[in-house]
């Protein structure tokens, strides 16, 4: 608190008021001081505090004295505070309420809130440092020290001032350096945009660009980390990778399929295949794309998609429609069956069992009984019985 000086509270020429807040109490470090209820004012040059009851009671500290500021959140029974760390007072400082202080920081306690806005404005002023570019003129009152504004290069004060200037220089250099970096980032953004548009053009004008050019462009794109525009294939025109994968799958799945009655859901296939691979797992996408090619590659298995969206892999020799006929027999024997019951009887997964029953219904062999008791399938007497 010894950095503060008494002041008239009037703003000097060139100094503008930024923000003010009532109900602020000051602390010298951790200790409360008698400045318990005042208006805190922030100007372009200084931080001022004026007693709410006695307006002549006014102190200020130049913003140039501020090293940095922190926010302190409110607690139970405690107001939010801003902690202001200060440089040691300069020797030519105007007299103030305290001659000395064991703390190098003060706290501003916002009993009536307003700390968020104040902190924001104070940070802004600390960044902009407008007091450096706007020299303050004389106030109306006579200045106590006519030489207060002049820079003295002698003594401890001089050394301190030189250090201060050096710090400012360094600060400036760093900011400029970062400026370059942000400019570089701007350029990089432009380059990415450019390459994206080229990639699009390649995609559209596949025929017009020569093979050579295309390869060159693609390699540029690759080096910049942009994926090859010709990536995911549509159904039917698989990549080499998917073709190889499809052949591999045919080999891996032959036996498991035979063991499971010739049909497996795609999720079962996914688990089985990846478990076998251990490393270099397949993505679901790659699996589906490879499976889509099974039939066109004339492999002994095929992908089948039911009306419900469920996907399965079947052996070519497997005929689901025939299985339906045997399903009808099973259901007829038992009178009626749910998907669960049917699955247990036949030794299938419930998912595939349901698909088979639904297919049987679609073919008109079964009909359904949907009630609170669940979904049951009956032989379709509507069609068989007159």
């Amino acid at each position: 608190m010894d950095r503060f000086s008494w002041t008239s509270g009037l703003l000097e020429l060139g100094e503008t008021l930024v923000v003010q807040q009532r109900g602020v109490r000051l602390y010298d470090g951790e200790e409360k001081v008698k400045f318990d209820s005042g208006v805190l004012l922030l100007s372009t040059h200084r931080l001022l505090w004026r007693d709410q009851k006695n307006h002549e009671y006014c102190i200020a500290v130049p913003l140039s004295q501020v090293v940095f500021i922190e926010e302190q959140a409110a607690g139970i029974g405690k107001s939010a505070k801003i902690v202001v760390h200060l440089h040691p007072a300069s020797s030519n400082k105007e007299p103030g309420p305290f001659q000395s202080s064991k703390y190098s920081y003060i706290k501003l306690s916002f009993k009536e809130h307003g700390q968020i806005e104040f902190y924001r404005r104070l940070s802004e002023e600390m960044t902009q440092r407008r007091w450096e570019s706007m020299p303050t003129g004389q106030t109306i009152q006579v200045n106590k020290d006519p030489q207060a504004g002049r820079i003295r290069a002698v003594g401890i004060v001089g050394i301190e001032r030189k250090l201060e200037e050096k710090r400012k220089e360094t600060d400036k250099n760093i900011s400029e350096a970062f400026e370059d970096l942000s400019k570089l980032m701007e350029k990089a953004k432009e380059m990415v945009e450019l390459s994206k548009s080229i990639a699009n053009k390649i995609k559209e004008k596949q025929g017009d660009i020569t093979e050579d050019e295309t390869i060159r462009f693609k390699s540029y794109l690759l080096s910049m980390g942009i994926a090859n525009p010709v990536t995911r294939e549509t159904y039917g025109s698989g990549t080499q990778y998917h073709m190889q994968l499809a052949k591999q799958l045919a080999g891996i799945l032959q036996t498991p399929l035979e063991e499971r009655g010739g049909i497996m859901s795609l999720t079962e296939v996914y688990c089985l295949v990846n478990r076998a691979r251990g490393l270099e797992l397949l993505s679901p996408e790659d699996l589906v794309n490879a499976c889509k090619m099974l039939e066109s590659l004339k492999l002994p298995l095929r992908l089948r998609i039911f009306d419900s969206g469920v996907m399965v892999i079947e052996l070519q020799s497997h005929n689901e429609e025939e299985m339906v006929a045997s399903a009808l027999e099973t259901v007829s024997e038992k009178g009626s069956l749910t998907a669960d019951e049917f699955a247990k009887l036949v030794g299938m997964s419930v998912l595939l069992a349901k698909e088979r029953l639904l297919l049987a219904e679609k073919m008109g062999h079964l009909c359904r009984d949907d009630s609170v008791e669940g979904l049951r399938f009956y032989p379709n007497l509507f069609l068989t019985q007159s």
Partner: protein, 174 residues
Amino acid sequence: MSFAWPWQYSFPPFFTLQPNGETRQKQLSAWCALALAYSQRHRLPAMTVREAQDSPLFANHRLQRKLPLESIQVVLEELRKNGNLEWLDKNKTSFLIMWRRPEEWGKLIYQWVSKNGLTNSVFTLYELVSGDDTENEEFHGLDEAMLLRALQALQQEHKAEIITLDDGRGVKFF
């Protein structure tokens, strides 16, 4: 003689609207036939949809199955399309099941009229359905609502005209 329920009435899937098109057609035909038979046997008066939901026609308590509301409405619409149902209000809350279509009743009445050489005569409504002369006819005892609809159908065909008499309404046949 107790009402003879059809085999479908004891078949649980009968109370679930079937998704398979062909199956559904058969199912709906069976429902229409049952509704008409039931309506004829029990001389069903006009009903609300609410009443229909609880009626033994659509709710088989022994089987613990009832036809859900949306499905009942599908059946009612099917009946209407066949000319066997008439909505009595705009909001479709009450309806009348006509197990025999008005035109069919009209035909029967007109047949009796012409067979007995009674064209160009006038009858009161009472005479037609409750008179001794018509005792053996199918339309004997027909309720007034249906009778009027039947006569209106004949009126459309210019075979009859509904007239007002001193003590009520009557009809003249041509």
